[in-house]
Symmetry: D2
Subunit: 360 residues, 4 copies
């Protein structure tokens, strides 16, 4: 696709946080023209009422989400509740690029889907994490590992990863691909901003409950992102994955700080560990291994499509410890969507995306 | 200046919050090449250590702030402490555009400067608030009022306004220019994010003191932004200005929410009030009057060069009440610098600037 | 009442923030035994589920709010929505002390009530702000002004003030009583924690909207606390009151920082101003004028029944500026209830109340 | 000691956060009279200037920390930097109860001390965590395990635990004592409020850096609380402990939310796990196991001497996951000091301490 013709993108679910962030990024994309904006309960409302920060689109009116309103676009981004995206996508032509910000098409295993989501699996779409490592050939360096971006060229369906999944995967996959960590006893604990929970009106999401407090949720192996992380680490070369995963809500609107640790593989040393992470991310535009000794904060990535990763070896604990910071709505959701869209459409992968966080 | 050749910009004081934000915006500017980055105590350090969110510049090394390091640039942005900018500017050629993010050259009155800053006045530079209204001709509509942007074309020195000043001025000036408010008893109280206080290590700026708390500062007529606000309202047509001004620090990193109120002028009615604000901002790219009944929040402007304004008439109190939200580091500082730079250099005023806030 | 027998207190609306805070304070009161806890939608639920911070009461079950469940108590505290308290109180014996945390019985003027609340006035109860000054005799010192506490001895109905009202009243009333400020053009702007808005599930109260942002509400003369503030300042001696009042939500769970300013009276000087505030609060156990130059923060009062006040004269603006910090749920609500209860029952006024805030 | 005579307590380091919190609690203690308040740099200053939230002590003057100023007290609480407490304690009579809020006398192993603190070990004092389990007799139930409180009666030196140590120990020790978890691969990740870092003026502790962000520190096995946690778990019966420990600063002033996980012991089932935690804490006044399915938040414990614990078994991950919430300055520091003081002096263990958190 030539960049001289604009890509026409519709966003369904434009009144939610994910949809709104997709719009924020698309509005700054040099090759995109924003088409229909649709919603369910908010159909008929001006976007300026529900997303007042999107100044350039404040005059736009939300339409209902129907095949008609979504017709005539090159790309349709879906920010819908579980279970809705498959149905909408089925009504769209095959040559329209459909990008699902939701979970419906992420998992390859129908059994995993049914166990964690409790409904019938809707099928698997190409996975929108361009930096996902695929197991390198035996003996090959991690730098030479195939990456997911190669699988995204020309696709017309994309399943954007879960935000926590992206953080934990990016933190640990170099060690898995290089064989320097054992993925059989991974432990991940995350500090999460509240926007990851969406706009639903639930008591524990009230400001009064959040301010000055930290609270966990979905503890003990129940979180739906668990099978997706395992799927990614298996893709990176893990024969089997065991994962303890605990997200904790902390008083910030955005951001994920994922601390993920795995046992150091027998015989692996700190130099090999660092080399694996360096090899994985040396050429990545959006995933940066920080210099030794510098640790990421979520503010460094606010509003940017950046993942910042650091890794250390705790010799006494015989564990590799990684910390990864992302903005859950950008690299964790809408930025991944735009990055994957760029790859699918043959655009420069970085088009319309920035790496500079809004800090402090 | 043609946009086909890049403008080479140096930033002095690149390790501070204002300098860092200037870099964040300049890095996204399509017509800018970032030149020297200089600092004082941090000279010799990598920018990645002190501004780790600026990923694209992380490899750059901070140089000392000297005439030599600043030589050879089209634009020099100064994010320096009070009193330093005049000296640096004097060492730069007259045809270099020097943009001072600090206070040294904002005030026209040497007496005001001496009273509020306690030192010798360094002279006045063209004022970098393009939307500043100048008193319209008698009987003319506010829409026809001259604006400061007209005075910025071709200038080579710019004094960027104080962040609080921008918020209060934008909130009240339409009413002053239209004669529908009395500027003789203005009261402004602001909710301020902490980044406005800079990186100085002071006890009341510690996170433990800030989190979960609100605290005022510079109460009772002592804040240095008072004479600057008065100067602006006089420019907009006020024969005399009396201002009570109280900033309060609230637990956010960025943002100013300025509540500014002035007596309703005798004979003025709510329709005239709304008309004045509409006339002032209908065509402004970065200052938006919200639809009636919608009030701004600072999050709507986070990271954006946007000021959101709302106005209401409190008939019982016989006052006009305005609320203005800006990001203190963008429209309040670095965004105003870039916007003014664009005007000075004959570029499109909006080049490199965005209006969409990073919300939620 | 002798302190050797415990006072039996019921709390209706025990699942809300105000009711929960009343329970927190009452649980620490040396002369109180907590009786029935009632709720509406949460009746039948364990208190530990909805107020898990109240460890000593976690095993208690919420009962429905009925005359039967509330029978047999010395005191009934009502934390109910507008309009409900009058009905409940009417069903309770006259010799039961009923303390209404809500607004129903605060206003003396039925016209004010109807204008601001849009319903029929339910009558006026003794007002639970013990420090409220009543106009001193002509020529008398403020220290000698009658205070509201004198009117609370033995009463059996108490209307607890609105939280914003308490903050603004305490800030300004000394100047009104002493005649050193003009109450005809009061301007008050408040930084408010979110708990003041209660537990209602509204979009603008979501954590994602609150974190990192400030937003005003009820701007332009519509807030229901306006007539109540005016009523108080009239009690303190103002013949007439004009008030511009703007609350702003800032990212903290608790706390009000009220900046309230009024014109300096003709002929008044800074010494007279300071003397008025000192005279008003020198002997108050819960309202403290800070030493000159020290300004309050809300954290200083967190969890405590303390109001911290500071005052300055802005000579150039010809205004007196006051800043008052309280915890909206303690001195602003439940602490005022306990303090007033103590007075009504003849207990030591400070029983069960603390002045030390939980800071930092 | 009879409760009819007041215990005279001095606080050295009264200007810091730990010392200030000790004062806040001691001021509410029914059997305590507060004696000398001492400081180093702040000697000569009024307490009201540095701890303005402590209203009842605002008039007190900070004295220098010398044997003379500390003489004549029953109890001396030390809130001093590393290395200072041993020297001060050596100058105090043996029959004075000295309570060290710092780290100097917590570790039993001189080798651990030297490795993690880099200085000479100052000796070990009785450990101020009354709920610490000591390994039960073989075959005995956890409920019958000896607890540290038994060792505190009559002691005259107490080392208060590190705040993170308390959270992780309380979370995991029931499983260790009962043999249902394997302490050989413990992983703990904590969300920490900023007050744990003290009042030191460091760039990463500035409000602008903290607000809206999460950042880790002391990652990879370097944190000084690691050997102390291991010591406690060994006391509870672990033959050997391996621990990966990562604290993360999140935007709150107070609170620790510790997620600590350990492998499920071979043959252990979820019922045994729950039974162990129930047995450990059923009779503890300050450590509460929440009902199944309810998870703690730090706000529930704000200002209170309460630890809230929850535990779950993640069968797929073969790990026991615990989450513990405390207020780092209360149960994590000053509350533990008061509780231990009560035990040492033969007072009721709960005297002067509350369990109700200041929420929301």
């Amino acid at each position: 696709m030539s960049s001289s013709q604009l890509i026409r993108v519709a966003v369904a679910g434009a009144s939610g946080y994910a949809g709104g962030e997709a719009l924020r990024l698309l509005a700054a994309h040099p090759f995109v023209e924003i088409g229909a904006l649709t919603a369910h309960a908010n159909a008929g409302t001006g976007l300026g009422e529900v997303q007042p920060h999107l100044r350039g689109l404040a005059h736009r009116i939300l339409e209902p989400t129907t095949p008609e309103t979504l017709a005539g676009h090159d790309v349709v981004v879906l920010g819908l509740p579980h279970g809705a995206s498959g149905q909408v996508a089925a009504q769209l032509p095959d040559d329209v690029l459909v990008i699902d910000l939701g979970a419906d098409h992420r998992l390859e295993s129908a059994a995993d889907w049914e166990q964690f989501y409790g409904s019938t699996h809707a099928g698997t779409w190409p996975y929108g994490l361009p930096e996902l490592l695929h197991a390198p050939a035996p003996g090959a360096d991690v730098a030479a590992a195939p990456r997911q971006r190669e699988k995204l060229a020309g696709v017309r369906r994309i399943a954007v990863p879960g935000c926590n999944v992206t953080a934990v995967t990016l933190g640990l996959q170099p060690g898995v691909a290089a064989g320097v960590v054992e993925p059989t006893d991974v432990v991940a604990v995350l500090a999460n901003g509240y926007s990851g929970a969406g706009k639903a009106l639930k008591p524990h999401l009230l400001a009064s409950e959040a301010l000055g407090s930290a609270q966990p949720y979905a503890v003990g192996g129940t979180h739906r992102h668990i099978p997706e992380i395992a799927q990614n680490l298996r893709a990176a070369g893990a024969p089997d994955v065991t994962l303890s995963f605990t997200p904790t809500l902390v008083p910030m609107a955005r951001g994920i700080l994922a601390t993920a640790t795995a046992p150091l593989a027998a015989g692996a040393d700190p130099e090999q560990v660092r080399a694996a992470w360096e090899a994985a991310y040396a050429d990545e535009p959006f995933v940066h291994l920080l210099p030794e000794g510098q640790w990421p904060s979520t503010a460094m990535t606010l509003g940017a499509n950046t993942a910042l990763v650091q890794v250390a070896v705790d010799a006494a604990a015989r564990r590799v410890v990684t910390v990864t910071a992302i903005d859950n709505l950008v690299k964790g959701t809408a930025g991944a969507a735009v990055q994957s869209m760029n790859l699918a459409l043959g655009l420069r992968e970085t088009a319309g995306l920035i790496t500079e966080g809004v800090a402090p």
